[in-house]
């Protein structure tokens, strides 16, 4: 925060002194001086000055932009190219012929892909609703004054700070009837519950296990985001609401939620995209099983790309995932656009 402010000050200082002639330009940062040596001509004024500053700006961001283009735009474009070609590495020597839309039609006709799409969408809707509701409840709790609040806020982030591979492995062990605590605790309620096989033995139980492992990791992220949103809501708004005689529920729905919209939208976009692309927790916990019943779009994409090394079909699947993610982001951005009045 203070950093960006001071940068802003520096900029105005440079601009402010520019019109007064050269000596004042000693205030320019050393690097800027080196990149744009003083020239023996009157200092540019107004428009010209702005253009040269802009050019410097472009020069400074160029390396990062080039890097970003190289690692995001290039693969994306390459992937689009792939999706219209035959490219299967198992048959290394074959020409990568143009095949039109055939990779896409193969994908749409594949029952595996269609059911993976359905599963992914259902999983996404269920997890984000659950994560946002529970995350919001946690955020509201942590927003209150109580002893040990700092400790709680720090410790709630632990699951999120853990790599998904590690947390999925952990949960896989936890759900194992002979090694984990889940069945141990359930067994305390009813002896028959002490030896339930969760993973790979039944579709629904596998999904429940995946869902719990996924939520355990991601709810803290939502909670912290929303907590940050809650903290910027000024207290006097609540006071005003109270003076107007608003109940707790009224001030929650009329004050908190509307003012929390920006934070909510960020949490929703992040969580939705993550849920749409869910992969590692499934890869570790069930491998898509039993059968293919926990196979999601990303998992199928991995199978096609990495295991079958079919870059054409895999490319088509990736492009569709990207489009899906873009569509979702677009809808969210639209829905959460701040009202102009």
């Amino acid at each position: 925060m203070s950093d960006s402010q001071s940068t802003g000050n520096a900029a105005t200082a440079v601009d402010g002194t520019a019109t007064e002639g050269r000596p004042a330009r000693a205030g320019r940062p050393a690097l800027v001086k080196r990149l744009m040596p003083e020239r023996r001509r009157p200092a540019p004024v107004g428009h010209a000055r702005e253009t040269s500053d802009r050019r410097l700006g472009y020069m400074l961001v160029a390396p990062v932009v080039i890097l970003l283009l190289a690692i995001t735009a290039y693969p994306l474009i390459y992937n689009i190219w792939n999706s219209f070609h035959f490219d299967n590495l198992s048959f290394g020597g074959l020409p990568h012929n143009f095949v039109g839309w055939s990779n896409f039609s193969k994908m749409f006709k594949s029952a595996q892909w269609v059911s993976a799409l359905e599963r992914t969408l259902v999983f996404t809707v269920v997890t984000i609703v659950f994560d946002i509701v529970v995350g919001l409840a946690l955020a509201l709790m942590m927003h209150r004054q109580f002893r040990g609040r700092g400790f709680l806020r720090a410790s709630i982030l632990v699951p999120w700070a853990m790599p998904t591979v590690v947390s999925a492995m952990l949960w896989k062990t936890m759900f194992d009837p002979s090694a984990g605590f889940v069945d141990y605790i359930l067994g305390a309620f009813h002896p028959a519950w002490s030896s339930i096989a969760w993973l790979g033995a039944n579709e629904w139980r596998s999904w429940i296990a995946i869902f719990i492992a996924d939520s355990w990791k991601n709810i803290p992220f939502v909670a912290i985001l929303l907590l940050a949103g809650l903290q910027v809501i000024p207290n006097d708004v609540y006071e005003a609401a109270r003076m107007d005689g608003a109940s707790w529920w009224q001030s929650f729905t009329r004050v908190t939620l509307p003012l929390l919209k920006p934070a909510l939208s960020v949490a929703l976009i992040f969580r939705t995209l993550q849920a749409l692309l869910v992969f590692d927790v499934i890869y570790i916990m069930t491998g898509g099983g039993p059968g293919n019943s926990t196979q999601t779009l990303s998992f199928l994409n991995y199978q096609t790309f990495i295991i079958n090394t079919d870059f054409g079909l895999g490319g088509a699947m990736s492009i569709l995932l990207v489009l899906l993610a873009l569509a979702v982001s677009f809808v969210y951005v639209r829905a959460f656009r701040p009202s102009t009045n």
Binding site: S6, G27, A197, G287
Partner: protein, 429 residues
């Protein structure tokens, strides 16, 4: 102050960008190279890619040091790749696809050579006139594609049946006896949690545990037709172990070899289907010294069962150092070096002649391992093995999650066609 900090940040950004770009450029330029061949006697450096970590990696390094001493003109650079087999494979594939001349020589799982051979990434070993009769035949078969040898057996991990010699006095002679022995043991010793543990998670191990029992029922995993009475009977036996005889808990559907080993080493089960590494693991006092290791006993019309796992050594088709690379392979697969490796880290030799009295003195269980190696079945040798494997994993895991008594036969009859198609898929189809 603020101004200075801003300037510093800009400098850092520019610096980082520049470094990243140079690194990228350097990475791009490292591919390619000459493909003319260098004589074995010339001074040269070869790159050896392997997945060994910890003591296995150290043992490889020890062997390589000795090789360099014996061949002062050849220097070997070791490139350690991922210890996860799928990641390891894709790392190798990236090198091959980019046409890299390195690694010159590499470690390969027994299921990869056919795929590499079909893609033209590995050198046929015909020119070296390898005497394959000195190796266990099954691993030679795994390295052979279209009657040409592409990979040399390095070590040989046969999967088989572990049993507790204190609980099972005479080893079972039929699959039915495994069931009755397990049931009797569970009855006699309530501290046992189950009668048998095996890998039934949806991963590669589900295929090897199936293959371990398969030939005992007269089955054969031929992808052109997997729907045979033998295969159905073998899968049904494993399925029924969970649902009918209930000697295995349903939790096996989440178990890989590590969990299975933990069950056996902790003394929770009298039987387990697993790899030889179990012998070298620390185990509960009751288990220690009471470990038997046998091929899965054959039923009527079957032969004792074991599944082949293991690692092979192969040469990059683009290398200029084929002669030196082969020299390294010859050294690593020589009897004394294999014996030393088995003694040091427990990797079972691929050569019958490496099973010496010195090895037995150090670890008597290698006698059992040698026996198992004579029975072990390779997984289907096909360039599309990974697809076939995915199909089979899906098939097995759906059966293990299905309590219906006909699950195995139904799954084989509905899944066989897809497996045949995937195994036979050729360029152009």
């Amino acid at each position: 102050m603020g101004m200075k900090r801003a300037a510093r940040w800009r400098a850092v950004t520019v610096g980082v960008g520049a470094v990243a770009l140079t690194a990228g450029a350097a990475a791009c330029s490292s591919g390619g190279g000459s493909s003319s061949s260098v004589a074995a006697s010339a001074k040269q450096t070869i790159v050896f890619a392997e997945s060994g970590l910890g003591t296995e990696g150290q043992q490889t390094q020890t062997a390589i040091n000795a090789f360099e001493k014996a061949n002062p003109n050849i220097k070997v650079t070791v490139q350690v790749l991922s210890s996860d087999s799928t990641t390891y494979l894709s790392q190798l594939e990236h090198d091959f696809i980019s046409g890299s001349t390195t690694p010159d020589v590499f470690e390969s799982d027994v299921t990869y050579p056919a795929k590499f051979a079909q893609a033209g990434w590995v050198l046929p070993l015909t020119q070296f006139k390898v005497d394959t009769s000195q190796f266990f035949q099954t691993e030679v078969d795994a390295g052979t594609f279209n009657n040409t040898l592409y990979a040399m057996p390095w070590f040989d991990n046969p999967e088989g049946l572990f049993y507790r010699t204190d609980l099972i006095k005479t080893p079972p002679k039929t699959p039915a006896e495994v069931v009755s022995d397990a049931q009797a043991a569970m009855k006699a010793d309530p501290s046992l949690k189950e009668g048998i543990a095996f890998e039934a998670d949806k991963y590669e191990g589900a295929i090897t545990s199936f293959l371990t029992v398969d030939s005992a029922f007269g089955g054969k995993l031929d992808p052109s037709n997997v729907n045979t009475p033998g295969n159905v009977a073998a899968l049904k036996w494993l399925h029924d172990a969970i649902y009918t005889s209930k000697i295995a808990p349903q939790a096996v559907t989440g178990w890989q070899e590590g969990q299975v080993q933990a069950q056996f080493s902790s003394g929770f089960t009298p039987f387990a289907i697993n790899y030889p590494f179990v012998e070298a693991q620390p185990s509960a006092p009751a288990v220690k010294g009471h470990i038997g290791y046998i091929p899965f006993p054959a039923g009527p019309g079957g032969t004792p069962g074991s599944a082949l796992g293991g690692e092979m050594l192969a040469i990059n088709a683009k290398t200029a150092h084929a002669a030196a690379a082969y020299k390294l392979i010859q050294y690593l697969t020589s009897p004394s070096v294999e014996t030393a490796r088995a003694i040091a880290v427990g990797d079972p030799p691929s050569l019958p002649s490496a099973y010496t009295s010195a090895l037995y003195a150090k670890a008597p269980y290698f006698k059992d391992v040698k026996t198992l190696n004579q029975y072990s079945q390779p997984r289907p040798v096909t360039p599309n093995y990974l697809q076939v494997s995915t199909d089979l994993q899906t098939l097995f895991s759906s059966v293990y999650a299905n309590g219906s008594p006909n699950a195995a036969s139904a799954a084989f009859s509905s899944g066989a066609a897809q497996i045949k198609t995937d195994a036979a898929a050729t360029p152009g189809s």
